[in-house]
Amino acid sequence: MRSEFTRLRAAVALLLALALSLGVVACGSSDNSSTSTEATATGSSLVTNPKNAKISLTIGSKNFPEQEILGEIYAQALKAVGYKVKTDLNLGSETVAHQAVKNGTISGYPEYASTALTSFFGFEPEDVPTNANAAYELAHEEFEKEGLVAFPPTPFASANAVGTTKKFAEEEGLKTISDLEGKSESMTLYGSPECRQRIDCLAGLEKYYGLKFKAFHPVDISLRYTVLEKGQADLSILFTTDPQLAAEKDKFVILKDDKHVFPAGNVIFVTKLSTFEKAGHDYENTILQVQTGLTLEVMQELDARVELEKQTPKEAAAAYLKSAGYVG
């Protein structure tokens, strides 16, 4: 009895240690700090302000290429106007990034207004305004209650989308998601592991379109086109900013979301109010200035550089800032 008790205690202790170490891993991140960029302001449209040198900023991002590119663009631009900038990209999910900005681990990160509303503030997808500014105002109000500030949105918006091969869409006569009614029972859907339960993913397709699929398979998001190309997936959850949709127009198509289950989100930069006040006007102005060039086409092109041409997000961001004339 006694030895069994000791063993149990040892097992519990082991468990705790395991859980703790896992927790630490989950909260940590691959640390890309002290990133230096080649970009320096030399008489270009971003002007160095020596006063900014006293202020340190850490720019974060979530864990997929588009986010890292955005994080790099903001970080390099802020560096160009004189701030001391570190990056902490690839933070993980939105929950992690949100916590990181709230507790000051990072100064700010780019978030999709729609994601903020549905994931952080409990909005249903149908309640997310389709108008970018209206969604921004709403998110701004909610963030304010948490002591955070959101800057106005980028020109481009990104959303989840149900995608398939052009061949399959033509064979089955699919143009909108509603066209799947009565057919989806024999089709397989692939999406991220979280997709199954998310209202802006499978749960929404079931709830609002009343669709049932033959099977839902979770996959890593980097495989979202592979499963279509292999002919394994009939349908796959894609992103509207995916470069493949522009580069391979005759291969992949997305089905129109006619019931608005997938709210489109423009990117808003989220930062702490205290950081915002300390960093001065250059902080917001720089971010707003460099994101004016980020249209859907430009974002797709930048995503293509990283996802298809295997450039690093840092290189893609530097190329963008240079070609758009923000840095010399």
Binding site: L15, A19, G23, P193, Q197, I199, P218, Q232
Partner: protein
Amino acid sequence: MSVASTPAPVFASFGGAIEFIFTPQTSNVTGGKAVGGLSQVIELTVTQLEVTVLALMLALLIALPAGLYFGHRGAGELLAIGLGNAGRAVPELALIALMAAVIGVGLLNLTVALAILGIPPILTNTFVGIREVDRSSVEAARGMGMTEFEIVRKVEAPLAIPSIFTGIRTATINIVATATIAPLAGVATLGEFILGENVYGTNGVLAGAIMVALLALALEFSLAALQRRLTSKGLKLSPT
């Protein structure tokens, strides 16, 4: 109990994770549908176990005969040990992605990827276990007129059981722990909780980790019991 409007806690609590295992919880991103709870936990635990057993079987099927053969022949040491060590360094996710382009994602891909993780410890430990069997015992067996196959089956393998089982137990732990990446390859295991923080919250992540740890302990104890059964009486007297 937390309700949807309260912000998710930064750090998971042990109590919260235990509650997640037994009772469905609210989630911010599911449109009101509850997540977690005993039925989902059991379902995912069963899949995790299935995937683990399948991969372990495949690993055993390849590594055990190879280890016995090379160990008995006393040859291929470089191959057995080298392959074993190289196998440890294989990045699982990259492997899955690589195979996804050839055989697609799903159970087959996953089983192969996880088996590759299980082969090195079984192969190396079997090889070493057989090599360490006292040569005079083997010579005695040969002198009694045993065939080579009989020597392996009746002398070398029973004497190498402790070492072979060390390999199998290591492989099992490697596989069961790594089977948490299955949701990235088309199969929903307990990894769904661990990878789905936005849906399941930090308590869900911890709950997934706890379940994987419990499963690993359960497998470890079962294999230890099996090992005791298979070890010959003579060997049990000597401290291992």
